[in-house]
């Protein structure tokens, strides 16, 4: 009997050769607790018989092979053990060794997790595995309790206790202890929903809502039973009566709920779904000569916006140029930075031209799309053909000509042409 892994194969000696005469053999398959064994025969050809047992209980007895008319072949459907052990036993029978033509059997097995939580209740009347919540795990299971209760040391049953439950998931489900059953007496429960700043919580009560109240002329009064909703910077609300409060937007990332029941009267309880959504920031304004992206109808916490200036304009913030701009919507609903401005760029003074000059044709203060024109003084000439070269202040703050070859205007001298003639001597 060799301990086997949680899956494998098993077969009679020498299979698929003929198995030895007078064979009587037994196999034990065991897997960890919390697992069942799924056995599938891949080949049966036995003159005597093979029996599959679990704790002495026969699960099946087979013989012959898939072609024999009088045999009992197991077919190819799996046999599932109820527990973590399985026995296979070959029996001797009126067996005639002279005529042995059988090759035995081969089978595959697989350990399968037992879903204890979906098993029917034990027959011993001990009740369900878990009194409230059952969570199946590989090879085992866990019990848990609704909010308002704690798991007892037996790891199966729950005891009332509902103080200090903190919910930090972005959505969740709360209810009064035992809901939808009436709430137990003398109860003081506290629920705290605390999510990341930048998210606000909304409470959505189900229609089925009942907290005992005392009717007065001003309406239901929550004297002895109440559910108090506490939102920072707002007056606490006490809820009671038979009408569900429906949806409550708290605009806060922290909400405390206090559920109090005295030892008289009865409240059938309440349940709610809470959800969160990100804080919104105001839609950013326009930036003249610039674009804000992305352009949305709403902006939420952690959203970013970027500002790019139109061509020929530069980003300015607090009087200084910046290379790029982005800002994030903060948890307090405000943008992290104020929007920048877009100022027109300029190319600076055009380079002076030796033996030439420059004058402005259009534009303003060397700004974007201003046009200047260079010319060469006689007897210098422009190597680029024609005597006037126009440059435009481009978006990259360079003075550029529409003749790409012109990087820098230049004036070349005409050879042999002094700028001053030798005076004529008049005497003859």
């Amino acid at each position: 009997c060799v301990p086997l892994l949680d899956s494998g194969q098993i077969h009679s000696p020498q299979c698929p050769q003929l198995y030895p005469v007078n064979l009587q053999k037994q196999w034990e398959i065991s897997v960890p607790d919390g697992f069942q064994i799924n056995l599938t025969f891949t080949h049966v050809d036995i003159k005597s018989s093979i029996t599959v047992l679990h704790d002495e209980k026969v699960l099946g007895k087979f013989c012959g092979n898939e072609n024999s008319a009088d045999g009992r072949h197991p077919g190819y459907q799996p046999i599932l053990s109820p527990g973590s052990r399985l026995t296979l036993k070959i029996q001797l029978s009126d067996y005639n060794p002279d005529r042995n033509q059988n090759v035995g059997f081969s089978a595959q097995y697989q350990a399968i997790d037992i879903d204890e939580c979906s098993a029917p209740e034990p027959e011993d009347g001990s009740g369900p595995l878990c009194s409230q919540i059952c969570l199946n795990t590989l090879g085992s299971y866990l019990c848990a309790c609704h909010h308002g209760y704690e798991l007892r040391s037996d790891e199966r049953t729950c005891i009332l206790s509902c103080v200090g439950g903190v919910f930090d998931e972005l959505e969740g489900h709360l209810m009064s202890p035992g809901y939808p059953n009436p709430s137990p007496d003398a109860l003081s429960c506290q629920y705290i929903i605390s999510v990341e700043s930048g998210f606000t919580v909304s409470l959505n009560f189900s229609d089925k809502f009942h907290i005992e109240s005392v009717d007065t002329e001003e309406g239901p009064n929550c004297l002895y039973h109440w559910l108090e909703v506490i939102i920072p910077d707002r007056n606490p609300m006490k809820l009671c009566g038979g009408t569900s409060p429906g949806l409550i937007n708290t605009n806060s990332n922290i909400v405390k709920l206090g559920y109090n029941i005295d030892n008289q009267g009865q409240s059938n309880g309440w349940s709610l779904e809470y959800s969160t959504h990100r804080v919104t920031c105001p839609v950013p304004g326009e930036v003249a000569k610039g674009r804000v992206t992305p352009s949305l109808t709403e902006y939420f916490y952690r959203d970013y916006i970027f500002v790019r200036c139109d061509e020929g304009y530069k980003l300015m913030m607090n009087g200084a140029e910046i290379m790029g701009f982005s800002t994030m919507c903060q948890s307090n609903g405000e943008w992290h930075l104020p929007l920048p401005e877009c100022h027109i760029i300029d190319c600076g003074e055009p380079d002076p031209l030796l033996n030439g000059g420059v004058n402005f044709l259009s534009g303003f203060q060397n700004q974007y799309l201003s046009v200047v024109q260079y010319h060469c003084n006689e007897p210098f000439y422009s190597p680029y053909g024609g005597n006037n070269v126009s440059l435009t202040c481009e978006a990259d703050r360079q003075w550029r000509s529409n003749h790409d070859v012109i990087l820098r205007p230049a004036c070349l001298p005409v050879c042999g042409r002094p700028m001053k003639q030798i005076e004529n001597h008049f005497q003859r």
Binding site: L354, N355, P379, F380, C411, L412, P413, V414, C415, G416, R417, P418, M419, K420, Q421, I422, E423, H425
Partner: protein
Amino acid sequence: IIGGNDAAEHTIPWQALINVGSSRGGGMIIADRWILTAAHVVVLNGQVQTPEALFVYLGVTDVHQIIENLSLNVTAVHVHSEYNNPNNLNFDHDIALIKLKDPITFQAAIMPLCLPSEDDTYDTGMMGMVSGFGITDKGNQRRFLTNKLKYVHVPVVEQKKCSISLKGKPSSRTPRLTNNMFCAGTPEGGKDSCNGDSGSGFTLQSENGRFWAAGIVSWGLGCGQKGTYGFYTKVANYVDWINKIMREN
């Protein structure tokens, strides 16, 4: 320059003043990094001078100005490979190019001279202008070294007359005339280039009025004497060589 005048500023802007050792010579600007001169200005005792030994000044009309002008940095000297004048009697291929380290900044006082174009000609009698800082006269036979840039207009002389002017002189002491040369001056003398003008330009004017480098002051028998002429390297024969050297360097 014999029988000439002072050159006012900006009138001969291609003129270069070249000091090699203790001797003085001239040259002409033909491109933003190139000075054309005579080979014998940069070859002393058969040795081509190193760039460091040359002091080149541009845009000056008075030698005193070099005191406050820095010399230009010279990076290379290219002497015509066929120039061979061990005994100072063979001025054939008397031409050289000086390469400057930095491009020249042109201005009114510093301008280039044109090289000969294909339709430029050396017509006998055509008045040319030769300039330089060389020895001058004061209207009498006595010679002075001037500090002023001077110029004189002299005509191109027929090649045959150039040859005749050398006849009767002992060949052992008279340089040879070749077709790579021409001469200019007047039979009566009195107008000529002289020592110290070597390497400067002899210019003619083409039809569009531009001055072009027709000759390089090369040699002569005395200066400005009756019956003698100044001899000049004929630049038109070397335009390909000049362009090749500039292109390759």
